[in-house]
Every structure is written in C-alpha cells, then in structure tokens.
C-alpha cells in the first residue's frame, strides 16, 4: 500500500498540468468547461495539439505512438486533461478502432491506418448498433458479401455517434449468414464514408442536438483488404473493443469537472447574500456525490492497476454502472440547483457561456440519460456482473 505520489510522478503530473493549461488555448477549453454542444473544430484542433505533443494515444503500442506509462500515469494524464477542460482525443480513433487494428490488423493495415488515426487525419465513427440490434448486438443484419476483391455491403446502422462529421466508419457486418451461432460469421470492416451508396441521416435528440445518425448502406463496395483480421472473427474484436469502451465511459474526469462547477454555483453568494448550500438537502446531495465520485475514482485506479494486456476485466462493468450513475446524478443535481431556472432554457444562442448554466441544465440532464443506454446498457452490465463476477 502506498498513498503519496513519488517525486517523479508529482513532476510528471505538474508537467501535464502545465501543458494542458498553457498549450491548449482557452478558446478550445472554454466550450468544454461550460458544457457547450460538441463542435467538430474543437475536437479536431485539440486532438492535433495533443498528438503533436505525443499525448493523443499514450496507451497504444510504442511503435505506433504509445508511451510506456504505468496505469497510474495514464490516470494522471486523463485526470489532468479533464481538470483543464481539454476535450479528450477522439475516442473512436484512439480507444476503439486504433487498438483493434493494432492488435488484430495486418502489418499493411497498421501502416496504412494507424498514423492517420492517431493524428485524426481520419475522423472515425463506430457502426455497431442496428435498429433491431442494440443491447442484443449479435442480432445485427447488415451483410457484406464477398465479390472478387470487394465486399458488397447492404443494411443499416443506427446511433452512430458523429457520423455526420466522420470520414470513415468501422462496422460489424455479417459475412457468413449460415454460421451456426449468431456471434459467428461476423466481420470487422473499415469503410470510407465517401464510398457511393452510403447515406448518413442525423437523428435529432430530445435536447435538440444531433450527435447520432442513421447510416444506410446500399450496395456499397468495400475493398477486401479493409476487413480487419480474420473473416468471421469480428465478434471477438468487438468484445475486445467494448471492454475498452466501458472503461472510458465511466467519464470520471468529466464528472469531476461538472461537480466542481456544481460546487461553484452552490457556494456562490446570491444577491441577497445567501448561498444555495444553505439548503441542507442540496448541500448533503453534493457531499454525497463527492464521496461517491471519490470512491469511483479509487475503484478505477484499482482496476487500472490490476489490468493486464488490455483484456477487459469484469470490473469495467462496475465502472460503467457507477460512472454513468454519477454522470446522471450530477446532471440532475445541477438542474435541481437551477430550480425553475432550468425551465427557462431561452433560445439556443442564450444558452452559451458560463453564466447560462441554469438555462443549459435541463437539456444537459436530458442528454445525459443516454449514458446508461449506450456502450452496453446498464442492464447488460448487471447481467455481466451477475454472470462473470458472481457466477449467477
């Protein structure tokens, strides 16, 4: 057991803190700090600044730009990034398709895709879910039929985050419809969204934003060398990838930033001299959220320290469940702090900037309901824990 950071680690942290606060301009951090809607330019510019400093893909293999960091160093990196309100490197690139190509791709695929993926010269999106294959992903029906040197893809993906901004999509497609089990006969395919036959239709959400899309494939011809790894083995790559996703989806750093803002609002003096924390119920809810978040962060540190070779641990389901719970809890708390002000949303242009947190709060609360649904719904996580951890 060891509590204190070594002097080396303390210096490491200080270096990162300085980098994030001085090398990433405030114009790129301000929208993150104040919960503005996503902006493609912010994502891309921030990512490229981090990439130039070797800070975009630290958990990749060394040969492809990774850093030989301990789990604790990775944690400090993520924590300092969120603390400074830096938009993290684009996760479909760095956390999802990149690691899959690095682990299972051919040498040729690695050379072709990993550098532009790390640099965000390709903006990736993930094409997994389908209208009838959400939590039950193995029910997917999009097909890819081999035809000479190409696959011909037909079908529909949905809930595809940021597809309207993306250059490429990585998909799970059914390449062997006759496989005895539904999980077999699925392949992992990389597709240029500029290929003819692809239509991207944004889905408007209840908070008015359009982060996700439907993607339609109509006889889309994809070169066969864009199939990653072994044909029909895509399910195992997807499982590898979803394990990674669940760790990211705990979003501890982001929640910490939101909770710090909650405290700022709650402690601010009102014009009549009062503070929102004068209400003991609100004060206690904040204190409890803070205690829960600390316990979650410690759990993430324990999981990180115990992880081996990127194999997802069952503990990642714990992080997903509690991480999304706290994201939602803090969003709800922010809305409740705003009170009737949460209803006074104003027009979209009135909802920007630090002063408009009350106007944004209900929309952010609504938006945040998604996190317990995507990336493996919380019901799926409970089943995983019951089965894989408790043996039920």
């Amino acid at each position: 057991m060891r509590l204190a950071l070594s002097p080396e680690l303390a210096a490491f942290r200080q270096e990162l803190r300085e980098f994030f606060e001085t090398q990433v301009p405030w114009e790129l951090r301000e929208p993150v700090a104040h919960g503005a809607p996503l902006d493609r330019d912010v994502i891309v510019e921030t990512h490229r600044i981090l990439h130039r400093a070797g800070l975009a893909v630290p958990d990749w293999p060394l040969a492809w730009g990774g850093r030989d960091w301990t789990p604790l160093q990775h944690h400090l990196w993520a924590e300092e990034m969120h603390r400074a309100a830096v938009f993290p490197p684009l996760s479909p690139n760095t956390g999802l398709v990149g690691p899959v190509i690095a682990a299972f791709g051919t040498e040729e695929q690695k050379r072709r895709f990993l550098p532009p993926t790390a640099a965000l010269d390709i903006f990736w999106c993930q094409g997994f879910s389908e209208p009838d294959a959400g939590s039950d992903l193995a029910a997917l029906r999009t097909t890819a039929v081999r035809d000479g040197d190409e696959y011909v893809v037909n079908g529909q993906k949905t809930w595809t985050s940021l597809a309207h901004w993306a250059d490429w999509i990585f998909c799970l497609v059914r390449t062997d419809p006759d496989a005895p089990k539904r999980q077999q006969g699925i392949s992992f395919l990389l597709v240029d969204l500029a290929t003819p036959g692809i239509t991207v239709r944004p889905i408007r959400m209840i908070d008015g934003e359009a982060e996700v899309n439907e993607v339609f494939f109509d006889d889309v011809r994809v070169p066969a060398d864009q199939l990653v790894g072994t044909p029909h083995e895509g399910w195992s790559y997807a499982k590898f990838l979803l394990g990674n996703e669940r760790v990211n989806v705990a979003q501890i750093g982001a929640t910490k930033l939101r909770l710090a803002l909650v405290k700022e609002h709650a402690l601010a003096r009102q014009d009549d001299g009062s503070q929102l924390v004068d209400d003991p119920l609100l004060a206690v809810r904040i204190a409890e959220a803070e205690a829960s978040l600390a316990a979650l962060e410690l759990t993430a540190l324990r999981v990180a320290a115990g992880s081996s070779d990127g194999q997802p641990q069952p503990a990642s389901s714990v992080l997903k469940l509690q991480g999304t719970h706290l994201q939602q809890l803090v969003a709800e708390l922010t809305m409740d702090l705003a009170g009737p002000g949460s209803t006074a949303t104003g027009t979209p242009s009135e909802r920007t900037g630090a002063g408009a947190w009350e106007r944004r709060s209900a929309l952010q609360h609504l938006n945040m309901r998604k996190v317990s649904i995507y990336g493996g719904a919380n019901e799926i996580q409970r089943t995983i824990i019951a089965k894989n951890v408790l043996g039920l």
Binding site: I203, G339, A344, E350
Partner: protein, 342 residues
C-alpha cells in the same frame, strides 16, 4: 370520503380525450367545449364547476401531451376572476433565484393616484406570450404585492422550453401596473394560488405519468431482444411494477388534493404532500421510461422524452420536492398523525 369521479366527470374526460386526439388546436378545442374558466364562478364570468372538473381536463391534457396554457389559466383565473375567454397568466418566478415566496421585481407607486410602475424581470413565465393580462408579483414599499399588467406594455421574449412549452421572459421597465392585492393579502392570495397550481399541475403530471407508463409497458410487450420480448426479462417487469406502485400513490395524493379544493379546503400541507409524491414518482417513471425504451427514448421523433421533460418542468414549478419536504418538515410539530378524513 369518496375519491371517485362522478359519471358526468367520466363523460367529460372521454369528451376531452376525444377532442385532443382529433382537434388540430387543443386550446381552441377546449375553448369550443366551454372548458376555459372552469372553477371560476359563473357570476364572475367563468364556467363554474368544481376543481374536480379542472382535474379531469388537466389530467387529460397530461395524457395527451398537449401544451396549452390551461393550468396557467386556472391559476390566473383564481387570482383575477373574469370572462372565461380571457387568459390571465401569473408572472412570479425570476431568473437566478430558486422558487421562494419573495420576489425581486420592484414596484414604485406613481405620484398620481392609484397606479404603479414595475421594474425587473420575470422568467420563466410559461405561456407568458399568450396572456391577455399578466398578474405580476413585485415588492413595494410595504412588502410583496400583486399587480395587473397589460402585456402590450411589457417586453416579452418567447421561446420553447425543453419540454416544448411556450415560455417567456418578461422585462418590465417602469411598466404601468394597477394594484390587485396589497400586502399581506397578496401573500394569502399567492399561497392559495400555489395550492391550486400544484394540484392542477399534479393532475397534469398524473396524466403524463400514465401515458409514460402505458407507452413503456407497450414497448416491453412488443420489442424483442435476444429473440424474446423485453417483457420476458424479470428485472425489467419488476421495475415496471415499482413504477406502477409509484403512479398509484401519486394518483391518491392528487385525487385527495383535488377533493380538498373541490370543497374549498385550501391546505398548503396537502399540496406539499402531493408535490413530494408526484415529484418522486415523476422522476422514477420519467427516467425509467427513457431507460426501458433505450436509444429511441432519447430521440426527438419519439414522444417519451418530452413526457419526461414535461415532468421535470412540473417538478421545478412552485417549489421542487426538496422545497416541499422542508416545508412539511417545518410543520411536523403542528399535528400528531395526519388526519385525512375531515
């Protein structure tokens, strides 16, 4: 005690529901049916009837997800009774403040006789832009008063809130006003209005929760995953059962508060208990509805998200669950066990 509706009220409910399913404009439909001004005595130009009739209409609106100034009109009409086709809206909440009985808008008496000038900002004012007259709370030299303002004299900025309700910010800058109620009478009026508002919104929330639970149950029955209907997953059906329990308890609280008002018993504790029940139930049912619908519950195309949003709007009007819990806690010593039967 009897918390059931009369056959006439059942008929009314069916008629309103039918109209809402077909009429292009719910508000015009209500007007046509003569349902505006319910609860305002006929002698004052209203449509008469008891608060039980208001309950019926508000609940039907909640079930249908209609966004009309109906509840706002009931509250306004109770403050300033008048013809049924005149919409009076109360402007009370102010930016940057959690709901509280005071108000930051300042009222200054005009040197010339009984008129006043008001300065300040009111927001959110639901359906503020549709009002024929505004009742505005403001602090004058002697305390909180209620004033009548012609909306034409105020700067009204209107938008759709997150539940798609037309909502407004009303800027007052030495806006002429007439006094409706001076302190301390204004406080009493406001308290009575709050009990009516909480009860009518409670009826609407009840309708919205019924709608949310019905849609969710239907989705569990029809949506298949892993080759079977969602309804075959016990973890989901047990959560739906818990939602149903919460709904029935909320229904009881709303029916009781309605019965009180129908017999002119205006009791803030009854309203607070209603608020606590519907607040807890609304959050549970609204959030479970989205979660059990999965991704499509988050989309603009599907109604369920707006039901959840509407429940949150109602939660934050006239004091949220926390506010009413504190108020009930402060009154714990006023009584032994709660006596429901009067």
């Amino acid at each position: 005690m009897d918390l059931t509706l009369t056959p006439e009220q059942d008929d009314l409910e069916r008629a309103v529901t039918r109209m809402l399913a077909t009429a292009p404009d719910a508000w015009a439909g209500l007007a046509e049916m003569g349902l505006l001004g319910l609860g305002v005595p006929e002698a004052d130009g209203g449509a008469g009837g008891t608060f039980a009739d208001v309950f019926v209409v508000a609940r039907a609106l909640g079930r249908a997800g209609a966004r009309t100034p109906y509840v706002e009109g009931v509250v306004g009409g109770s403050l300033l009774p008048g013809p049924a086709d005149r919409l009076v809206v109360l402007a009370h909440d102010e930016p940057g403040r959690r709901w509280h009985p005071g108000a930051g808008v300042r009222a200054e008496p005009e040197p010339t006789g009984g008129t006043w000038r008001l300065t300040g900002t009111k927001e959110p004012v639901l359906h503020g832009a549709a009002a024929d007259l505004l009742v505005v709370s403001a602090t004058g030299p002697e305390g909180l008063g209620l004033f009548v303002v012609d909306p034409a004299d105020a700067a009204i900025h209107s938008y759709l809130s997150h539940d798609r309700s037309p909502t407004a910010r009303i800027d007052l800058d030495r806006t002429p006003a007439t006094l409706l109620a001076a302190p301390p009478h204004a406080d009493e009026l406001l308290t009575a209005a709050s009990v009516r508002a909480v009860t009518a919104y409670g009826a609407e929330a009840l309708g919205a929760m019924e709608d949310a639970l019905e849609r969710t149950v239907a989705y569990l029955r029809t949506r298949h995953q892993f080759g079977v209907p969602l309804a075959s997953f016990q973890a989901l059906t047990h959560r739906a059962a818990d939602a149903y329990v919460a709904l029935e308890l909320a229904r009881s609280a709303v029916l009781y508060a309605t019965a009180c008002l129908a017999e002119d018993v205006v009791d803030p504790a009854v309203a607070s208990r209603l608020k606590v029940q519907t607040g807890r139930a609304g959050r549970l049912i609204g959030q479970e509805a989205i979660q059990l619908h999965g991704g499509i519950g988050m989309t603009d195309e599907h109604a369920i998200g707006y039901v959840t949003a509407r429940l949150e709007v109602i939660e934050h009007l006239w004091g949220d669950t926390g506010f009413h819990l504190h108020r009930l806690a402060a009154g714990l010593g006023d009584h032994g066990a709660v006596e429901l039967l009067r």
